[in-house]
Amino acid sequence: MAILEVAGLCKRFGGLQAVDEVSFAVESGEVLGLIGPNGSGKSTTLSLLMGVVRPDSGSVQLRDIEIAGQPTHAIAKRGMAMVFQHSRPLHRQTVLENIQLALLPDTIFQLCRAKQLVQRAREVADRVGLTAVLHQHPDALPFAFLRRLELAKALAADPAVLLLDEPFAGLAPRETREFSDLVVSLRGAGCAVVLVDHNVKAVAGLVDRIAAMHAGRKIAEGTPEQVTGNAHVREVYFGKSLDTTPQAPTARTEHDGRRLLETRIESVHYGQAEALRGVELHVDEGEFVSVVGLNGAGKTTLFDSILGFVGYRGDIQWRGNSLDGVKPAARASAGIALCPETRALFLHMSVRENLDLGGHALNRQARVEQRDQILKLFPVLAERASQSAYTLSGGEQQMLTIGRALMARPRLLLLDEPTLGLAPLIIEHISDALEQLQQDTGLAILLAEQNLTFAVKHSRRIYLLETGQLRWHGEADRFVAEVGADVL
């Protein structure tokens, strides 16, 4: 009998079926990878197992005991532990004290520390390679050590099942390897591991089995090879048509070759974590270029650097001039417009007001003209012109985001994940609008996408971003043939 058995697990958030009849089992000493694109429900599944979120229905059995619906601390005591993606250690305490915390009994009657506590904390620290930094404070440590600290805390209670939520996010390749080795060493100790990540490749060398998820459902399960070969999985990641014959890209306006944007970013740091390293790319006038990569690859950070929202080392040039020291607002007025992933609409303003705010720099007449053009491009927005933005559907909101960005009459449009969470039909609409837009105005577009189908369909060139570095760059039609297998 497997140590962890999950059957028919369901969770609904409002209108979204986040997890839908998910079942799987894990044995002691086994590593199961749970993969799927953004929003496929894999992280929610982990939260359900740990009891952070209560399942609507379904069963979770840990060592043959039903734990679904129990409070988190009770589940933890039964032998489940979890390493969260975002760690928040105690900053005023040392690493050793942070580990001691995880070893304490759950009672309020403890004013003195047990003598063996320090010794046991040292042993746990030794297991994950933290011995050298025992007396340091967490905020003085590199990011990879913080991840290890979280792992140490989770291992302190000798869990039977360990849940890891995107354990490699934000780690450099060498750190990823070291952390993988740690996870593998747990297998020998008889611990069952469930880890969540975006794609097969990241976890292939590490897991015994993979369960792939899409839209809340488990769509495949098996060895990494089986899952990679699964038709349904390939379709989810690549789209139907691309897999067999690379489709001839339809909208590729000939660009006149004038350089619009050129980045030579040496690095971007968030505290200890390095988000981008050595990213050199360019976009020419009228060109459609995509940056593809998984969550956390650094796409949004790249856009934030281009607009000057984050500090970077290196140089970014706009039409031959360095943007060094130029404020975000000035960069926007120079002709760079951003459609953020979060959309960042003014939700309580009407569609028209949102558009007008986007064109605040234009004079009245130009603004009306521009607005009419955009409403022609997205007719559905014309119907909703006086509605509040929050009453729009996700797809309409995305159109409004693009429309608002276009109001400033940019030369370059930065599109951050425009297809995220949208239905195929809506994506089609947006797709058509972008084609039209390029034909009519010769606008250059830099797209950041996880949806490879969408990116390959539109782009002339593609950059593949992986853990903050450019891994591949080339014409769009070579993409699937050359690196397609790697990004699955």
């Binding site: 740990m50 009891g51 952070v52 409070p71 988190t72 601390h73 009770a74 933890a76 005591k77 532990a81 979890m82 969260f84 760690s87 928040r88 105690l90 900053h91 005023r92 305490q93 004290e97 001691q100 915390l101 995880a102 304490l104 759950d106 309020i108 403890q110 004013l111 003195c112 520390r113 506590l117 404070h137 905020d139 805390k153 989770a154 302190a156 209670a157």
Partner: protein, 308 residues
């Protein structure tokens, strides 16, 4: 080195306590003793508040809800039932602890500022109740008590100093213990703390009870020190603001810091009294300056690791 430093600090705190305790022997200024007595009670409020805010991570904008409950419960028992001071103070404290228990529910359901609003409303409700039942409570004017702690300034000084010292020692033991570690962790990230196997609710209840215990004791003793219970001294928002400023300028998550902050605030207020109405403004500006230039409070000047 860390341990030596800790001994050194404890030694310094003891020395300060002894020097303070000797004050009545060297000065006969009732004024000075009176000022310090008020400051010590404020210090107890501040320490109790910091246990919730600094350690347990609960944004409590209503410390005076607990203080006021205790003050009025004790005061009413004394005035109307004629019970002696030493019975009324425990009754007041029990009332504060019941109030603290009532806050645990909302604290577990709501986060950050939303819980803060609940505590603010709790204070307003208490204020309204005092006004509505002014026949008993004396309303805005206050409730005159039959008894007081003692007539002697020196006696009052020692009562306050004693309460402050006991509070400081108990709270320091708690926050330095494994218990304090769990409390601080649950204040920082309650989900992750639950995932480590701690039932956070238990620790939150304990934090509220401890905070209510000491602020309740101080609240009841304050009214028996003044001989009256009035909204202006134990309920209004101005008192809350004083408690918060004292804690923050002294240093959050620091027992000694709260004491330093409270003494500074009261003494500075006295020094600036000649400025009249302006004195409040001056103290506020001073507090702002400390916040901006030493956001971790006075205590951070003593080379302690910054609180985050």
């Amino acid at each position: 080195m860390n341990i030596a430093y800790a001994y050194w600090r404890t030694g310094l705190a003891l020395l300060a306590l002894i020097v303070t305790a000797c004050l009545p022997a060297v000065t006969s200024s009732y004024y000075l003793l009176g000022v310090l007595t008020t400051a010590f009670y404020l210090a107890v409020y501040a320490m109790s508040w910091d246990l919730l805010f600094g350690y347990a991570g609960e944004v409590n904008f209503g410390p005076t809800f607990l203080i006021g409950l205790s003050a009025y419960a004790a005061g009413l028992c004394n005035t109307f039932l004629g019970w002696p001071v030493w019975v009324c103070i425990p009754i007041g404290t029990a009332a504060a602890m019941l109030g603290g228990l009532a806050l645990v529910g909302p604290a577990l359901r709501l986060k950050g500022p939303y819980f803060g609003l609940v505590t603010l409303v709790a204070v307003l409700l208490l204020g309204h109740a005092i006004t509505i039942f002014s026949g008993y409570t004396g309303g805005e004017i206050g409730l005159a008590l039959r008894d007081i702690l003692t007539l002697s300034s020196t006696g009052n000084f020692y009562y306050a100093l004693g309460l402050m010292a006991i509070t400081a020692v108990v709270l320091r033991i708690v926050v330095r213990s494994p218990l304090g570690l769990i409390l601080e962790a649950s204040g920082q990230d309650s989900v992750a703390t639950e995932a480590l196997g701690f039932s956070v609710i238990k620790f939150k209840v304990l934090a509220f009870m401890l905070s209510a215990l000491f602020s309740g004791l101080a609240g009841a003793m304050t009214v028996f020190y003044f001989g009256t219970a009035s909204p202006g001294t134990v309920v209004v928002v101005a008192v809350t603001v004083q408690i918060i400023i004292a804690t923050i300028i002294g240093g959050r998550r620091s027992i000694i810091g709260s004491i330093l902050g409270a003494v500074f605030l009261v003494v500075a207020g006295e020094f600036l009294r000649p400025l009249g109405e302006l004195s409040t403004t001056a103290v506020s500006i001073l507090a702002l300056l400390v916040l901006v230039f030493a956001p971790n409070g006075f205590i951070s000047v003593f080379g302690r690791r910054g609180a985050r």
